[in-house]
Amino acid sequence: MQAEIAVRADQSSEPRSYPLRRVLETLREVRGTASLILRMEGRRKIVRPDLRPGNLDAGLFLMEERSVRLGELELRGGRVYLYGREADLRLIDSWVEACAAELWRGEGLTQERARELAEVLLSHREQTEGRALRAVREVLGQEVVDQLLSEGRVRVRSSNGEEYVITEEGEVYSAGGRRCCVQVEGGERLPKYDRFLAVYLTVRDRPEKISTLRPRREGREFVLRIHHLLAELEHLAERLRLEEEGGQVEIPFPVG
C-alpha cells in the first residue's frame, strides 16, 4: 500500500498527528506493508506586509500557508522505518512535533531540516535500544536475543506450567493466541527491550503477579457443567419420588 498523509500544523494549535498514529498502529498490528509519504501543512495569520492606512479596507491580516514533504515512512513486518532506520511511534510523535515547531521558524522547515531532526532522534533511539538489548543478552542469553531479532518474539514456559509468547514490544499471548493484557509501569517512556526484559522475567518466574495470566475458563464449560448437574438432580429427584411411592419430593433449590 502506498499513500500520502498530511499532518496539519497550524501555528495556533498543536500538530494533529492522531490520524497518522492510528494508521501506523493499525498497520503495525496487522503486520501490513506500506509506504507512506508524509507531508506537513499549516497556516497562520500574519499582518499584511503591505499595510498602509489607505489599504486597510482590504483587511489587516493575510493567511500564510506552508507545506513541506517531510519524508517517507515504511512499514514492514510490524515495524516502522523512517529514512530506512527503525523507529517507534513515540519517536514519530516527537519528530512530527519538532517539525511542526520548525515549520514556523524563520523561513520555515525544509526537507533537509526534517531529515536532520529525524537523524538525531533515530541515533538517540538506536543508542538507547542498543544498551537495552545488551542488558537482555547479559541477563537472558544470546539465544533469546537471536530469537528476538529474527522473529520479534520469543516463547517462554512460565513457572505456572503455561507457555506464552512475548513480543519485542512486551505484548503477551497465551499458547492459544489469546492476548493477555499486561502493563509495565512507566512503559511508554522505557526502551522497548527494557519493557521486554521486565515482562519476560515476570511471566517466566512470577506469573501470579499478573492477574490477566490466570487461565480463563470458557463460559461454555460452565454452562455444560450446569446442565450436567441439573440432569443429575432431576434423576435423583425421580429416584426419590419412586422410593417415596409417588410422594412429593421437595428440591431444596430451584431447578430449571
Binding site: V139, C180, L201, R206
Partner: protein, 80 residues
C-alpha cells in the same frame, strides 16, 4: 559478598557495586517500587518487589558461598 546493582531505565543502564548492606539500604529506599531479579553465575530469576523477600534470597546465596550476584531493578509489571 559483592553485589552489583543494575538499574534499567530510559536514561541508560546504571551499574553500582556494593555489598549486602548497601543492597539492602537501596532496596529499602526504593520501598518496593520496583521488581528485583537476582542473577547468579549468569542465571537470572525474578524474586519480586518485597525488600525482605529479596534479602532473604541474597542471604541464602551468601550461605551457599556465592561470591558475587547481580540485582536487576525492573519496572513493575501487572495485569492491565
Amino acid at each position: 559478598m559483592r553485589c552489583i546493582l543494575r538499574k534499567l531505565g530510559s536514561r541508560g543502564d546504571e551499574l553500582q557495586v556494593t555489598d549486602e548492606r548497601g543492597l539492602e539500604r537501596e532496596l529499602r529506599r526504593l520501598e518496593g517500587s520496583c521488581f528485583v531479579a537476582l542473577s547468579v553465575r549468569g542465571i537470572a530469576r525474578l524474586v519480586g518487589d518485597d525488600p525482605e523477600q529479596v534479602m532473604e534470597c541474597v542471604r541464602l546465596e551468601a550461605l551457599r558461598g556465592t561470591q558475587e550476584l547481580e540485582a536487576i531493578l525492573l519496572p513493575r509489571v501487572q495485569g492491565g
